[in-house]
Amino acid sequence: MIPATKSEQPRGHIEVADFALSYDTIDGAVEAVTKANVHVEPGEFVSIVGPSGCGKSTLLNAVAGFLKPTSGTVTLDGEAIDGPSADRGMVFQQYSLFPWKTVRENVEFGLKMRGMDRFNRERAARTLLGLAGLSAFESHYPERLSGGMKQRVGIVRALATGPKVLLLDEPFGALDAQTRVIMQQILTNMWQRLKISVLFVTHDIDEAIFLSDRVYCMTARPGTIKAEIAIPLERPRQQAMMMSSEFLALRRGLMSLIREESLKAMGGEVDDLALQGLSIDLRGQTLADVV
């Protein structure tokens, strides 16, 4: 079912070169992303972080095939990407499970699209769900699941067809902090076993460092790649690592990069000085005193 890997060709090499994308408005073209270069090696876990509205999701959607670059190229294993397809599995922030399909039918959907017969499809979906700890819920409709369970189904559904790469668009953004940590571990575990390339978009710096081999940091609009940071933390990664000095140093570095961009994204009035002024005004007083 999975395309034969006997010929051990590199699978899942993403190359985004000189990528630019602009929208037409009444005032002329507005650039969302400009001159972005991103690559993901086969089996690598790469994240893109940046302030909101910087175009990181735009970039991901172009790799998924939903958007076409205005200029530049997007290729997977050397072939230009032309529209969405099952070789790029996608996980969405809003889960995007089909509400009218049961958990198992959701997982089966991609397999059905490839023409797999019902018997094999059911068996494959059951196995995958069992492994994700969701067996008891296979005949539930998504509405009845918790957010963490929904996203587990979302990930399993995207992996079921054996894609070359997995694209995730802030997949854990809507989850509470505890569930998010568990989901991060589930994802890294699956990724390590499957040796699949991952492109992960998030605005959560800790998440990006904890999960990735490399992190791209994007600038405010028009978005472009500001920095590329290798994460040399050893694997498997444990939650305790998030307290290590190595982790914290990486975190500080990324934080200051992002902070600059976030302030830019919020407009000229909010600069560092203004923020400092605010904290000075409040010094020694409670908010109630001020108001």
């Binding site: 079912m1 999975i2 998924a64 095939g65 939903f66 529209g83 969405p84 397809s85 099952a86 790029r88 599995g89 996608m90 969405f92 809003q94 995007s96 499970l97 089909f98 509400p99 009218w100 399909k101 959907f109 991609g110 699209m113 490839r114 094999n120 494959a124 196995t127 995958l128 069992g130 492994l131 994700a132 700890g133 969701l134 067996s135 008891a136 819920f137 409709y141 509405e143 009845r144 699941l145 918790s146 963490g148 369970m149 399993v156 559904r157 995207a158 992996l159 079921a160 067809t161 054996g162 505890q178 569930t179 568990i182 571990q185 589930i186 575990n189 699956m190 390590q192 076993r193 499957l194």
Partner: protein, 304 residues
């Protein structure tokens, strides 16, 4: 697949063990009373759990009884306060008529004929309006071509079509079915179209990422996503179908429950007027119940 399954299995097994989200704790309705409860206690629990529904039934019954009582008193004393109840038949008189009508093949024929017209007109409307709405929702050119015409025709009440309908169709029966069809056609079309415009584009993208092509996106995403709105359209359409049918029968019919009611007035059979009215009400109620039931069957994910 085997490979993926095995690898995911290993990955999953670890993480699930770590996950502080035990499957059983999250299942809301798998808890069964641990000890067998005696039937009396069970009955008590059932009453307790359903007290809101029981209350609604009891209050509803009281309300209906009060309505019948008011009707009875108003007609018994032939109240005449601007509104005249002098000629209005009493509940007892209507009941007596009803019992007689139940054995009267002519009355039953009127009812059956109206039902036949509703079924034909309504089904025809559903069979044409639902696919048309889906196509208009999916293809912009179809929408741009058809929508202006439907918008012009839609505000015309089905009753206003009676003269035109008589001209268009060779038989009276066909023109009445046509008017019933028109009444339900537009609510079904407009609701289907509206449902199509509300389909979450992210679900379409999700399907595309899983390898779905145009036909399967239509079948597995657009259609089920629109279904709740289709059923809203069918419910509204059924209501308007009855309104249109009764009006058409009163104006140009020779049979049917609408004609029966109108004829009763001409023949000074006042109890029959009320019998006809109640019959129309019950048939309308029954047909919307059927549509609700079909909706539940067609959309199991929306239960409870």
């Amino acid at each position: 697949m085997e490979q993926v399954a095995r690898r995911v299995a290993e990955a999953g097994a670890e993480t699930v063990a770590e996950a502080a989200e035990p499957a059983s704790a999250a299942a809301p309705d798998t808890s069964v009373p641990s000890r067998p409860v005696r039937s009396a206690a069970r009955a008590k629990r059932w009453l307790l759990l359903h007290r809101a529904e029981i209350r609604a039934v009891v209050v509803g019954a009281i309300s209906l009884a009060l309505f019948l009582l008011a009707w009875h008193l108003l007609t018994k004393y032939r109240v005449n306060m601007h509104v005249r109840f002098t000629n209005v038949p009493s509940p007892a008189a209507v009941l007596e008529k009803f019992e007689r009508a139940m054995h009267d093949s002519k009355f039953l024929m009127h009812v059956l004929l109206s039902c036949r017209r509703i079924v034909l007109g309504f089904l025809l409307a559903a069979v044409i309006a639902i696919p048309l709405g889906l196509i208009m929702g999916r293809f912009r050119l179809a929408r741009e071509m058809i929508f202006p015409v439907t918008e012009v025709l839609r505000p015309i009440p089905a009753i206003a079509w009676v003269p035109m309908s008589i001209m268009l169709w060779p038989s009276n029966e066909e023109s009445i079915i046509f008017i019933t069809f028109l009444g339900s056609f537009f609510p079904i079309l407009i609701n289907t179209l509206h449902g199509m415009s509300l389909v979450d584009p992210v679900l379409v993208r999700a399907a595309q990422c899983l390898g779905a092509r145009e036909t399967s996106i239509f079948r597995d995403v657009y259609f089920p996503a629109t279904l709740p709105h289709v059923f809203t359209g069918l419910t509204v359409g059924m209501g308007v179908a009855w309104v249109s049918l009764i009006a058409a029968e009163m104006i140009s019919g020779q049979f049917g429950i609408g004609y029966f009611t109108w004829e009763a007035y001409s023949l000074v059979q006042y109890a029959d007027i009320v019998l006809g009215m109640i019959c129309i009400g019950v048939l309308g109620l029954g047909s919307s119940a059927i549509i609700r039931g079909l909706g539940k069957l067609a959309m199991p994910w929306r239960r409870e």
